[in-house]
């Protein structure tokens, strides 16, 4: 059980109490951010793997900082252990002051709570981010780590060369984890007008994902939220508005969209318990924009 900081104890108790009130009667709780309602849809089960995900964050804008504040508020009621970053961790310069402005400042509260961030690289990121202590990349552009029954694969979709493809295939081939989650920058599927689906990347990685039973893929690049209809048994999310937004960028009536949101910045929360993965997408102001449960498919034969 994670120790809750005294400063947030009262807030956590009040909010936790509201979780047991029927949704219809639930009141929105205002916290530090003006008009920020904290409404958790995740079950917070004992022993579950809990994490957050953010993409395209590093603008250093006040809106990015507000997302960081809202994440910290949700952390008080949903103590996630780590955060996945889907790239574009820093736009523009990468001088020491930029790291503060675009990363350690906006997420200070989470860093203070010892929440770990695991980064992947986007098209705006310099290679040496791999050596930044708070990105936990261990000097590598692609890497794997495991939490409970979930294996996480950070990939560098900006430079998917043969070496990386071979590494991914060999790691997945020996991976016996119940859940396999890949996170990287460019979306194999996206309904955004700006970039859209990266079919070149998809052509190379999707057969590997299918072959080795990857369950969930988290990406960014398009500055919107989109949950893609399951493609060949895989759940794809585009979560690329952690610090930059392209309002109105989602194509109308895209056949691959299950749910989308392009009106504000957002982040995501996940909880994995046994064969179920719960997810919640939350706007900068704390509104739930999507939520649901993914049931783990049985391993494919052959």
């Amino acid at each position: 059980m994670r120790r809750i900081h005294t400063r947030n104890l009262l807030l956590a108790l009040v909010i936790s109490a509201t979780l047991f009130i029927p949704a219809s009667a639930q009141r929105l709780i205002n916290t530090d951010v003006k008009n920020s309602p904290v409404k958790l849809t995740l079950p917070v089960k004992d022993g579950s793997v809990r994490f957050a995900a953010i993409g395209d964050t590093g603008s250093g804008s006040s809106a990015q900082r507000e997302v960081g504040t809202t994440m910290a508020q949700y952390h008080a009621v949903f103590p996630f252990e780590f955060v996945l970053m889907m790239g574009d961790n820093m736009y523009g310069g990468e001088a020491p002051k930029d790291f503060e402005k675009k990363f350690s400042g906006p997420y200070k509260a989470l860093l203070d709570y010892k929440v770990k961030f695991y980064a992947s690289l986007g098209n705006h990121d310099q290679a040496l981010q791999t050596n930044y202590t708070n990105f936990n990349m261990n000097g590598k552009e692609y890497y794997r780590f495991k939490k409970g029954n979930v294996a996480f694969y950070a990939l560098n979709s900006n430079y998917m060369d043969k070496k990386q493809v071979a590494w991914l295939e060999s790691e997945l081939a020996k991976d016996t984890s119940e859940w396999k989650v890949c996170f990287f920058h460019h979306p194999p599927y996206s309904s955004a007008k700006s970039h859209g689906s990266d079919s070149q990347l998809r052509e190379v990685v999707e057969p590997i994902f299918i072959k080795y039973g990857v369950n969930v893929v988290l990406t960014g690049h398009d500055h919107v939220y989109e949950r893609i209809k399951p493609q060949k048994g895989i759940y794809y999310f585009v979560s690329g508005a952690g610090g930059k937004l392209r309002a109105g960028d989602i194509k109308d009536a895209s056949p691959i969209t299950e749910k989308s949101y392009d009106r504000d910045l957002h982040f995501m929360l996940f909880e994995v318990s046994g064969d179920q993965m719960y997810f919640q997408a939350i706007s900068r102001t704390g509104q739930t924009i999507d939520s649901g449960i993914i049931a783990r498919a049985k391993k494919r034969e052959g």
Binding site: A95, P96, N131, N158, K162, D198, L201, E203
Partner: protein
């Protein structure tokens, strides 16, 4: 009962076939050009040798830069990058365009890219490369790639067809131009204009 067993076997066979076809498709996407002439093989080998010589040089001058651990602070990263960039630039002072992308290498790469751009994904390839905002990048050998500019995504299918590079060196596109860039310092090692059709 027999029918059930048959169906089961059929399912397994279909799954196996599907899986094989998926992997075959993957392998096809990453396969090198089908036929490489003896002359092209020599060209590729020469290019790879020159790249290796560059890497040997950069690893030697890297010794002048402060050591960078896997859990560095922003200040340490900045100091390392700056020192590496300066050391590399002075070690290669006077480097000129075309020293690695020699005419025969450039010709091979242009032909390879042209073939790739004739495929069904031509439009998607173009969009992937040309949507990149590279304003501020000055095409100049031995000068750094502007830190404020983004990197073009290098499509996996293209990378598979180009001569393979060691981890210290990267291909990049800036518009139709192709660059060879040092991965850590972002110093432009060489570039070839109008590489893309």
């Amino acid at each position: 009962m027999k029918l059930q067993k048959c169906c089961k076997y059929l399912c397994v066979v279909v799954c196996a076939l599907l899986s094989t076809s998926a992997v075959a498709q993957n392998n096809q996407a990453l396969a090198p050009p089908a036929v490489i002439s003896a002359a092209d093989k020599t060209t590729i080998q020469t290019f790879e040798k020159q790249v290796k010589e560059y890497v040997d040089l950069r690893n030697k001058v890297k010794e002048n830069a402060p050591k960078l651990s896997k859990d560095s602070t922003p200040e340490q990263i900045h100091a390392y990058r700056t020192a590496l960039e300066q050391s590399l630039r002075s070690a290669r002072a006077g480097a000129k365009r075309g020293e690695l992308f020699r005419p025969e290498t450039a010709d091979y790469i242009r032909r390879t890219l042209k073939i790739e751009f004739q495929g069904k994904d031509r439009q998607q390839l173009r969009e992937t490369i040309f949507e990149t905002e590279t304003q501020g990048v000055v095409l100049r050998v031995n000068h750094p790639y502007a830190q404020t500019a983004e990197f073009s995504e290098m499509p996996a299918t293209l990378l598979a067809k180009l001569p393979q590079l060691p981890k210290e060196v990267r291909y990049r596109f800036v518009g139709r131009n192709m660059l060879l860039v040092d991965r850590e310092s972002n110093v432009i090692i060489d570039y070839m204009p109008e590489a893309l059709p």
